[in-house]
């Protein structure tokens, strides 16, 4: 029986008040497990990103709970929530959000530096993870000197450097060509996903569905079901 990494119950989020109130997510409940790669798919505006933000401790839901390893993350104080994100979650953003004025290694080391780790120690670990993503030789370069695929791998290295239990990917292939996108996700599947880690990925890209363990579909803010396409295949 796989261990539950994230347990979302009745998640609801609306924006605006009164007649202007718009529901982004309505009463969404699901579990995500360690050792699985869960995709959240759906058309634009279906609430994927809002849901992702709520389960990762970024956007407070109007209703519902998010339990991570037995803790209701939305009962935590702002500082505790920030610490939770820093230590437990690795983020890979759609546009990478790498600092162009820092070297690739420094970008990767940022989560460790935010954890107040020693600079040299953080750099050593960043170099290790750059080696994992095959970019050790690019460590001294600024990210702008790297291709889109390489930048995405740097973002992945930054996300895994603090050894998080949960990884959140937001449209990781949106800025990449099809082949590079597949390579990246394949790499994530092989080298980033472990039995001790859960990956939740929001994507539009049907070309990478084959790498998912489960696919959760969203429409109009509701979860319309999950498919075990990968496992059943």
């Amino acid at each position: 029986m796989p261990r539950i990494a994230i347990q979302a119950t009745g998640l609801t989020k609306w924006f605006g008040e009164g007649e202007a109130r718009t529901y982004a997510v309505r009463d969404v409940s699901f579990d995500a497990y360690f050792g699985e790669m869960l995709y959240v798919v759906g058309p634009s505006g279906s609430g994927k990103t809002t849901m992702l933000s709520m389960i990762s401790g970024i956007l407070r839901p109007n209703a519902g709970k998010v339990m991570v390893e037995g803790t209701d993350i939305w009962s935590l104080s702002d500082n505790a929530l920030a610490a939770f994100r820093l230590h437990k979650i690795g983020f890979v953003f759609q546009d990478y959000h790498l600092f162009p004025r820092l070297t690739t290694a420094e970008n990767v080391a940022i989560p460790l530096i935010l954890q107040n780790r020693d600079w040299d120690e953080a750099m050593d670990e960043a170099m290790h993870d750059l080696e994992v993503v095959g970019l050790k030789d690019k460590a001294p370069l600024p990210p702008v000197k790297l291709s889109g695929g390489e930048q995405q791998r740097v973002a992945i290295a930054r996300a895994i450097v603090s050894r998080p239990d949960i990884m959140i990917f937001d449209e990781p292939t949106a800025s990449l060509d099809g082949e590079t996108g597949r390579t990246i996700v394949s790499f994530v599947r092989q080298h980033v996903l472990t039995d001790q880690r859960c990956i939740v990925m929001v994507t539009h890209d049907a070309r990478i569905y084959e790498f998912a363990d489960r696919i959760a579909k969203m429409e109009d803010g509701r979860l319309t079901g999950t498919e075990r396409e990968k496992l059943d295949a």
Binding site: S53, I58, R85, I89, R101, L102, P111, I113, D118
Partner: protein
Amino acid sequence: MPGNLKIAYKLLANDRARFAALLLGITFAVFLMIAVTSMFSGTLKRASATVINLGGSIWVMDPSIQTVANTIPLPDYVLDEVRSIPGVKFAVPVYAGSALLKLRDGTYQSANIVGLDDASLFGRPMLISGHIEDIFAENAFIAVKDSEFYKLENPTIGTDFEINDHRGVIVGIAKVASSGLFGVPTLYTTYYRAVYYIPNMRFTISYILVEPKTPADVAAIKRQVAAAGYLALTRDEFITKISDFYKYQTGIGVNLMLMTVISFIIGLSISGQTFYTFILENVERFGALKAIGAKGRELVFMILFQAAFVSATGFGIGVGLCSMVIWLARVYLPDYAAIMTFPNLGLAFGMVVVIAAVSSYVGVRKVLTIEPFDIFRG
């Protein structure tokens, strides 16, 4: 240095164009602010040169006096009256006036003449050549070797000149703490020779210099002098009075203050604008840091550090640049009156702190209002 501050430093310093623009803005503002206030301080110091050089704990004068240069002679009986005040250790007359000298080559040169009390020579300058007792010799004058000395044709001991159809002879060369404001050389002689050689009004005492028995006697002496219808000021009070005159009654102070404010506004505009665009360029990445787990106060600290670093560096460069310019100016223009004082530096530093605070406030507001969710939404 903590890692997050190192990151903040690298974000700032590696953006060379913007870092240079920030430094330039602050350096330029600091340079202007310090240069302007230093010139003003130099001018004020020179305006009080006679007071500084003569010393004297208490100066007795006519109440209408605004600056040391515009003397209103006192009757002789005032000296007697002051000497009779309990608490006065001694009181001496001093003459401060100007005269036209005819130099050896036939040219005329205006000069300040200071006449020291014959009995005590109180306020005498430090001689670098000659003997002070020679001041009692016939026609004796002591020339002050300041930035105006060359205007007396660089005299040596024995050099003579004419003063109001009297012969004058240089018997000593002295140095003083401060040169005068009006660009004329200074000669010291005895009080009675000064009064005798230079045409005067009925009264001849310019000031009475008083030494109290104890510091506690100062207040009583001032009261007694006031009761006699005259004004007694301590040396520092007199210097302040002279400074206030130039600051508030000549327009110089207001003009220089305006220049300082303009420098501040220029610095604030350049630095504020540049820092704002710097933050604006990185705001999404700061948002990403927030999403990753950076606390708001950590980001604020990073921004404050960046603002403080660039301000301190700009301040240091500005001060260094200003020192160099003043030094260079003095090499080529010995009369150049500019001195950097701690209050000047403090004022410039305070304004730089304001520039840094305003610049970083804008950045901090921007970073604090960015929501990590916005980063996800793109």
